[in-house]
Amino acid sequence: MPTLTEKKTTRSGRPAPELIFGDLWEYDPAPETADPKLKARYDLFINGAFVAPKSGKYFDSINPANEQKLAEIALANKDDVDAAYAAAQRAFDTTWGKMPGRERAKYLYRIARLLQDRAREFAVAETLDGGKPIKESRDFDVPMAAAHFFYHAGWADKLEYVAPGHKVAPLGVVGQVIPWNFPLLMLAWKIAPALAMGNCVVLKPAETTSVTCLKLAEILQDAGLPPGVVNFVTGFGETGAAVTGHPTPAKIAFTGSTEVGKIIMRSLAGTDKKMTMELGGKAANIVFDDAPLDQAVEGIVNGIFFNQGHVCCAGSRLLVHEPVADKVLAKLKNRLKVLRVGDPMDKNTDLGAINSREQLKRITELVASGVKEGAELYQPPCKLPTKGFYFRPTLFSGVSMSHRIAREEIFGPVLSILTFRTVEEAVEKANNTAYGLSAGVWTDKGSRILKMSTELKAGVVWANTYNKFDPTSPFGGYKESGFGREGGRQGLLDYCQLT
């Protein structure tokens, strides 16, 4: 393969000196100060009202940035889940299922607008609860969640265009279980298409990130959404199992690990319930020697360090074309030196807190395995806060396909770097995984982009970009990354039956 890269030199013939500004000045703290308007205690949201859990039990939600208690969250048991499903079924039978699409649409538009109104408040709450940098919750999570409601609102009265040749009908009640990495956004991905199609919902957020879900319940009340159309039950895995194992829902939609996805699939094997599964990933981000390397480095950094790497589609395997491997690694190391790790509430923070002690343990364990298996570790010498859960942005070079860090989803800020010589080898390595959620390609050659995007077995391919999302753009995986799509026309079809 010809190399398009030319050696960049200064007029004097010497390589340009590198300037790294990161350490030259102390940054002043730039904390976000908006009030998240948190309650000390959050109850379950069932049939349009906040209700105490039947068990009377609550559990603490902590701020992973400093390990301080943020709020108490109700622990839902089987009876609470029963009540939630009863409310959802009643709402489907009496109000929501009979409402004309144009009216359903208006509720969804309202939800989108009310969320936009309170965007900063929600962003702060999301950051406090989950540990992600405020710049991400403020500029990505919350606006994107609002956009999902706004997009799907407009579909509610246009459903005859969803499946050409067929009429569509809602499924009825759907049960949904979502993860902790994008709590509010995942909720929007789940609820918006379900409601637009006329379904009613029982949703369980992750136990470490229930706050914005319950705050959204306030918005649902303000929007006047009929009681029971959306119900939130909070708790741990047991509550989740009660949601997925309940006889009422016609469909279970799950986002989370492949391991749990398989457990749910097994538990539903004897039923006729529909399912969509958005599971794990181990995406290859492939950089060719003709790529604009500075842009590629930004894309690699965004691909793996966005949201501390708690992203199912994270570009966690970097495949670099051999002629530029050293150069890319050097650039990456320099870039890592200026990443700011620390207080998620600081507007300059690039990497916030790891979501939980448990996740930090898992990341630490996998990184240790990488060292043990012989990959070369690089971490920048940044200072980490003494309290809270943090992990340095981490590079592994000299990784081979058999290493655990090249095969298992780490779900943290850890990049495994492999090299390749030919297009065929890149494709072979990229596809040599049980996962198939996403992939990245960096090259200046258009025909190569199209070849790669055809050959890569992944549901989303980012070419010369990475980690871009949009309500209009279907998202979801091949192989063990799950089935079904979320977003776009394709995502809507997974919430209806053809009649």
């Binding site: 067929h166 398989k262 097994r266 094997a269 549901g459 391919v461 980012w462 949009d470 063990e480 394709q490």
Partner: protein, 288 residues
């Protein structure tokens, strides 16, 4: 003295060749009157695995054929069946169908292939699209075949149901390993001969005969089958879904107890093609 006709040795069509079961087992097939007709290969789990291998090998080439080419080949399969309609009708009548019913099933089978042949270069235009994302990116969603699809045909409608399940999968470039009707396998044996003369590359469709109890469990657990579609009873559905969970396999199972009317227009659909498709969305920045 009248001439004694020679009878055909039924063989299954796998990897473009006509083979016996690796186990060398057969089971006797009787006609509607109860007279011996022929010995049918009693395929095994190993035969299924071999067939999956053949299908996997044929997959990339078939998926890369142009949509126009796949359409012509499916149409040619229809031509092959039309030309041997009488023989196929006789095969269906072995199971006790009336002459009229058998002829109707063959005709519907040809029409079904013509229907899917026409979809080959159109489904993408209906199911895929460009997405108007709120950023400076060109974003489009296209479909791709899943890979090797397992097809489990019901016992009834031994030709029409089998073809109705195979056709939507191969329309988009999947390859298929199918288990034919256990009680009426002979039409599937003949179908193999027509597949072989239809320009369909070897390995794209592989048809096994045998007993459901022996083979269905391997459809459930074989991880190289990316999807299983077909007709199954409650017990089989549970086994198939349990097995599917291990590799997050896609299942599209009709209930045996629902007695699908394969002659109905509802037995053919764009959305049957969609069932064995993956959607892939590609992003690229728009800029100079």
């Amino acid at each position: 003295m009248s001439r004694l006709p020679i009878t055909k040795t039924p063989k299954v069509y796998v990897g473009g060749a006509f083979i016996r079961s690796e186990s060398a087992r057969t089971f006797p097939l009787k006609d509607a009157a109860g007279n011996f007709f022929a010995n049918i290969p009693q395929c095994t789990r190993k035969d299924l695995r071999n067939a999956v291998e053949a299908a996997a090998k044929a997959g990339p080439g078939w998926a890369k054929r142009t949509a126009y080419n796949r359409g012509q080949i499916l149409y040619r399969l229809g031509e092959m069946i039309e030309a041997r309609a009488g023989e196929l009708a006789d095969a269906i009548r072995l199971g006790g169908a009336s002459e009229a019913a058998a002829a109707k099933e063959v005709a519907a089978t040809v029409d079904r292939l013509v229907y899917y042949a026409g979809w080959c270069d159109k489904y993408e235009q209906v199911l895929g699209n460009v997405n108007p994302v709120a950023s400076a990116h060109f974003n489009f969603t296209v479909t791709e075949p899943m890979g090797v699809v397992g097809v489990i045909a019901p016992d009834e409608a031994p030709l029409l149901a089998l073809v109705s399940l195979i056709a939507p999968a191969i329309t988009s470039g999947n390859t298929v390993v199918a288990l034919a009707s256990s009680t009426q396998p002979y039409p599937a044996i003949l179908l193999g001969e027509m597949l072989a003369t239809s320009d369909l590359p070897g390995g794209v469709v592989n048809v096994l005969t045998g007993f459901r109890k022996e083979i269905v469990p391997t459809f459930a657990t074989h991880t190289h089958l990316r999807a299983v579609s077909g007709v199954a009873n409650a017990e089989e559905r549970k086994a198939l879904k349990l097995g599917a969970a291990e590799s997050v396999k896609r299942t599209h199972l009709l209930k045996a107890e629902d007695k699908t009317d394969w002659l109905a227009a509802s037995a053919q659909s764009l959305y049957a093609i969609r069932d064995t498709l993956e959607f892939k969305t590609t992003w690229h920045p728009i800029g100079a």
